[in-house]
Symmetry: D2
Subunit: 445 residues, 4 copies
Amino acid sequence: MAQDDAAPPGAPAGPGFIGNLMRLVGRSNSLDMTRLADALLSERGEASGVALAGELLSAYASRTTEERIDFLLKLASRFGADRGRLERAIDRYRNDPSAANGVGLHVAAEARRQELFRRLNLAPGGTERLVRMREDVLAAAVVHPELETVDADFQHLFASWFNRGFLSLKHIDWNTEAAVLERIIRYEAVHEITSWDDLRRRIDPDDRRCFAFFHPQLPGEPLIFVEVALARDVPDSIAPLLAADRRPIAPRRASTAVFYSISNCQDGLRGVPLGNFLIKQVVDVLKRELPNLRSFVTLSPVPGFMGWLRRERNARASTWLADEDRRALLAVDQPGWTQVTAQSRALRPVLTAALAEYLLRARDGKGRPIDPVARFHLNNGARLERINWLGDLSDKGMQQAAGFMVNYLYDIAQIERNHEAFAREGRVVAARAVERALRQPPAVH
Amino acid sequence: MAQDDAAPPGAPAGPGFIGNLMRLVGRSNSLDMTRLADALLSERGEASGVALAGELLSAYASRTTEERIDFLLKLASRFGADRGRLERAIDRYRNDPSAANGVGLHVAAEARRQELFRRLNLAPGGTERLVRMREDVLAAAVVHPELETVDADFQHLFASWFNRGFLSLKHIDWNTEAAVLERIIRYEAVHEITSWDDLRRRIDPDDRRCFAFFHPQLPGEPLIFVEVALARDVPDSIAPLLAADRRPIAPRRASTAVFYSISNCQDGLRGVPLGNFLIKQVVDVLKRELPNLRSFVTLSPVPGFMGWLRRERNARASTWLADEDRRALLAVDQPGWTQVTAQSRALRPVLTAALAEYLLRARDGKGRPIDPVARFHLNNGARLERINWLGDLSDKGMQQAAGFMVNYLYDIAQIERNHEAFAREGRVVAARAVERALRQPPAVH
Amino acid sequence: MAQDDAAPPGAPAGPGFIGNLMRLVGRSNSLDMTRLADALLSERGEASGVALAGELLSAYASRTTEERIDFLLKLASRFGADRGRLERAIDRYRNDPSAANGVGLHVAAEARRQELFRRLNLAPGGTERLVRMREDVLAAAVVHPELETVDADFQHLFASWFNRGFLSLKHIDWNTEAAVLERIIRYEAVHEITSWDDLRRRIDPDDRRCFAFFHPQLPGEPLIFVEVALARDVPDSIAPLLAADRRPIAPRRASTAVFYSISNCQDGLRGVPLGNFLIKQVVDVLKRELPNLRSFVTLSPVPGFMGWLRRERNARASTWLADEDRRALLAVDQPGWTQVTAQSRALRPVLTAALAEYLLRARDGKGRPIDPVARFHLNNGARLERINWLGDLSDKGMQQAAGFMVNYLYDIAQIERNHEAFAREGRVVAARAVERALRQPPAVH
Amino acid sequence: MAQDDAAPPGAPAGPGFIGNLMRLVGRSNSLDMTRLADALLSERGEASGVALAGELLSAYASRTTEERIDFLLKLASRFGADRGRLERAIDRYRNDPSAANGVGLHVAAEARRQELFRRLNLAPGGTERLVRMREDVLAAAVVHPELETVDADFQHLFASWFNRGFLSLKHIDWNTEAAVLERIIRYEAVHEITSWDDLRRRIDPDDRRCFAFFHPQLPGEPLIFVEVALARDVPDSIAPLLAADRRPIAPRRASTAVFYSISNCQDGLRGVPLGNFLIKQVVDVLKRELPNLRSFVTLSPVPGFMGWLRRERNARASTWLADEDRRALLAVDQPGWTQVTAQSRALRPVLTAALAEYLLRARDGKGRPIDPVARFHLNNGARLERINWLGDLSDKGMQQAAGFMVNYLYDIAQIERNHEAFAREGRVVAARAVERALRQPPAVH
């Protein structure tokens, strides 16, 4: 194709170009991916978007970590908004802040990579590969903070694409494909699933349920899932729920649904709200199936408690930790203290008060409760319902939370009010009994 | 709930509020929808988004056209970007045009209704209802141009949500659900489907195919579909393709796939690119199934030809229309001229030259070819392949195009090049024979 | 293959034989099908059953009617039980009527064609092709009564294969594949479906239902279907049910489910009980979905009434027809009598009495009620509930039943008792009002 | 219901009867099941078959083993053919052996329990429960030989119901439901599947396949399955095929499909031919997918070898075992002989000759080869292709077959011929090399 030869470097033409590019890409570095990205955003991308997108994604998948990061950094530096165009749009808007100029400004301010991501999505399997690409961004952003804008664009796009309206809720049970179940085993983040038998105990008995959100473009990949136990009471410890030899109860006789484990599966969807919607829809589904259910609670870990307590104990000054508390707390450093009745008895009041302080009053740098699990449920509008002494005696449970577990209550009638109190005033809505566990009782409110 | 009574008007609290609001909405006007929209964008929306979204959409569906337009106008006037916030973001960016401030500017410039639309999508069936809402916007924008910004936001969002990567291609045949087939009958926009028998002739025989794109959230609604005939030659008229008594050929013996009808089904998705992807994927699918296929062409109408010609004939000056042409063209105003050999013979050269002029050279106010079908295929990278005299003798065909039909050729190897010529230079790529039909031959290029 | 050459004519060996046979079969007559049948029953059939069965079925499908009948006659004459073997089994059984010898006798008495049919079923699509073959048997048996034994074997086999436990009930609605709906249109045997619009009116509105039985091996072929209208009362005429302009009612407000049309679709399954199971399962399904339903009735034609009445009027003696009845009935021969009030008024009592006689007392040669629809519902355990004067004014309704329609009531609590009364004593269980319509009231029972 | 009271014991009437019966059945013994069976065969069964069948099956499921056997014995003693009727049918046939009387005899000779089984199948889940009932029959027949006729009836019926034409072949892989995979683990009868990881290695890699037959009425229950390895050569030992660390090969590069495990899953389907059809269809499926496959072989155990050899060694006289053989074979009784080179070397020729003798010449009481696996493959038309020394060193492999494994070859072109040689003449078709392993070479044939 003679005319190709004559084409200037910046404007290669014809199918030969893509062919050549792909061959190059096979053996070269991120420059080629960048070139493919340019092509995808050009007229060429309009004509051959599906093919070009596929090529770029394949190239990316075949590269070393270093080359990938190189490409991601290019996304940050070269695929932001077009500065000149943005400046002009600002000028137009400042001249005449009309609605049309407002829209024009929004369009001009959009990073070019957003359109790039949308075009990459044209390729078969594109959605999943973009999710994986964002996982790389998140991993690399630790060392390359300039990737944060790329991440922000990903999050913005994924929040739109993984909108709850596009997800489907599926009941996970023993008739689910093994490939999905295997991922459930792998992704379980709260109480490890130790074997297929353990898994079966959690999804197969009549009084156990598991639900997950799926996206049509990632059919075999759960996005988030929750494990539910039907029970007669609000449980205070995890071990009996997971016991191999427990006797199932008839679902019609259960009064309580216990969300005892909720796990996000896709790092690449960080920041996309899923858990809130999942819990509330599962409440709906269960209510319709089992009108006998009266309460919906979690049995939750308190993963940040002991870390915080350690920091408090190490701090010169603590607003609430007395010297005698510090002395009493020495016992908690000795493995096996739960077995020693005297130690356990002595520790209980001080640890309980510490936990109440941690959950109700302690705040991080941004003024939020420190515990991530607490933040999640409180922001969903749940209420901190109960503190359970020695609820989780596993190594992890002891190390993270001195064995404590807590219940959060999802009372649909109160959810809005609770959420607002939390979102507007930063107030933790808790049951009376929990508040009473504080050393200094809270001011009346 | 006593504390509700004390709540200031602008900050109603608790679940009672929504209940009250909904009751109000049942009997009131767009103000209530606006209030629901405000609620949906507030913390309340975070806690009870699914329910609130459902209520707003139901309210909207139950209103009169007038009330709906009222609400849409509110979307334009009250749900744009927050001006103060946008001004601050502009200042920050002008101070320091960092990547982060660029992202911040983009976020601040986003109209609030975009987030509103995303939250409305939380409700079951939300996607479809938003598509219907945009149909209202398009209809109302004719009289209310201020709705154009709302429309722009819809288009931006839908281009992302209805990205080709989220669509699935389905083969429509006699085993398709009647509810979908009925829509195919209804949406067919090129050659009317007159009955279920007519439909069957287009989708059931071995040498006929129909493909449509679907979105997972609108499972029974085709978005766009194309009808294909497998043939031994490039056809020059439509009637034999649709004849009730034709004999099917064996697909393995076909050399040509003819796209003889392509119809967009959803007004609400105007501006979302679908047709280009559909045609190219169908080419792929057919190639894989039938390696014997050598060419992929359309048999297309020329809907704007006679309107343009009328305007030319009425114009004082025409760059190409001679007085004798004007006289000769008088015959075209007489119904039945195709039956009169002498008239037909006399008209053919002048009409053919006019059509070539229309397709190859005439331009609209924006410098684009006037014919919308031509624009579509040329922009997809197809080539104008052949002009067919008396290809469509139906009333519509005679009125719109003096009976002409044309073929556009999809030659995958040339598509990029053709598209670029068209997109960059506005050049219409056509076969030699078509160019020769011009009165003044084109300059060599 | 040298050893094939040496094989005696009666014992051809090896794959070459089948290849040869198939080639022969392509151009020859029923002898070859018979030979294929022999092969299929031999050791060869055990090794290559699927292929041989496919060949025989294809051969059969490609033959003329004459050749097929020839083959079917061979099935009758040459593929019965092996006589010698049967004689020996009888001897053994008469010697020692042990259970084992009973089983041996049963096995020896089985016609060889039964095993042939089972082996033909090995081929893909075999089940459907066997159903079609039996259609040929039924058609040919009219002239060839010796085919009745072949038919008996088919019926025995199909009653086992199409056992209700192997069928699935499907709801037919507007989301059903067009190919199935087209068959519903074609197979409707009671009230003709005149168009797709007519069909839609019967399956799409909320207060209309249609259910069909399917067999897994004939996935696109309904076996039998029933059309149901939900109503507020027991209907007395068909036209309002089928009216194009009627207003649907809310299913939750219906009290009555009306089975107004039930059609067998497969001639080849004659004698296999399907309708009884279909009606009872549909009653179950509707009851569960709509607990508000109180009664389940038919609106049925009386297809044999006028034929019987003609015979009675032509007969010298009738047990119940008085001379004045004969005179009165002359009016019924005049078209349009329903329009003439006087005639209609005069005819009503005598026709009503005649219908009651026909349904309650008249018997055919085997002592059964004459009306086939009556026999079907009565044998199912339904009760003859009501006679409807001028319920069906269509040509067919007038010719077959002088416009009469009847309701049969399916009262689940009475079904067993009714069926037994009918099956054991031949008694027609009817509502009082129907019995009172008899000229001579029935003896008390 | 007063008239019920008057009903004679043998003819209870009305729905009340069934209600009462069911209540009785809840607490009583097999007599009640017998009574339900009588009812199911009566007119009552025609009217309420589905309900009655369900009740009888539930009653059966809830009984003790003893009560069940009692009922099964009743099936043998009381539900055979009606003797009087059979005698009359014999008389009629002897008088006039017409086709119709032949059919009549067949019908009269059918045990009443066959119709009972067909009616039991009306109940939801009936098919599976009947399969389970036959498992009981098979288990009980060991002590109650009179159950053999019941078993014969079951087998006859199941051979018809589980006809290959009604089964569907499914590819079992990692996307199969866990519930089905769990059954694959449980039913594997040849080489134990030790864990889910072991299972995954057999079904997930590209060069491994597993196929099973399913019946539409037992959707979660595989009937039979086969595990296949794609390989480059005919394998001579099992361990490398199952190794955890082996490297998969690309399917397109495989020349050989190895059927290394085939397991029947349902005892209740004993005698129903499944394996033959399964293997041949899998050959078809694989051939179509992978035209590169040249040979289809098994890697099979020889489960009866060592048992037979022990009997030979213990026998006074053996037609082929010389005294020195007996001495040499003493070594085989010492565990670990395979590790001792000298012993192994000494045993190889005598064991190999013994195996050839066992497979090619030894016959059981019915004149058939002794080895069940050999009988299965030879009867399918496979050829004994190779003897593999030390092919299976597992405990089971050593105990059953001194470590031998064999390959059977499925050469489709030879299958008919091989099957006939085996079925008619009892001849074992084997490769030359296997025949040469015989002590006395076979006569030329």
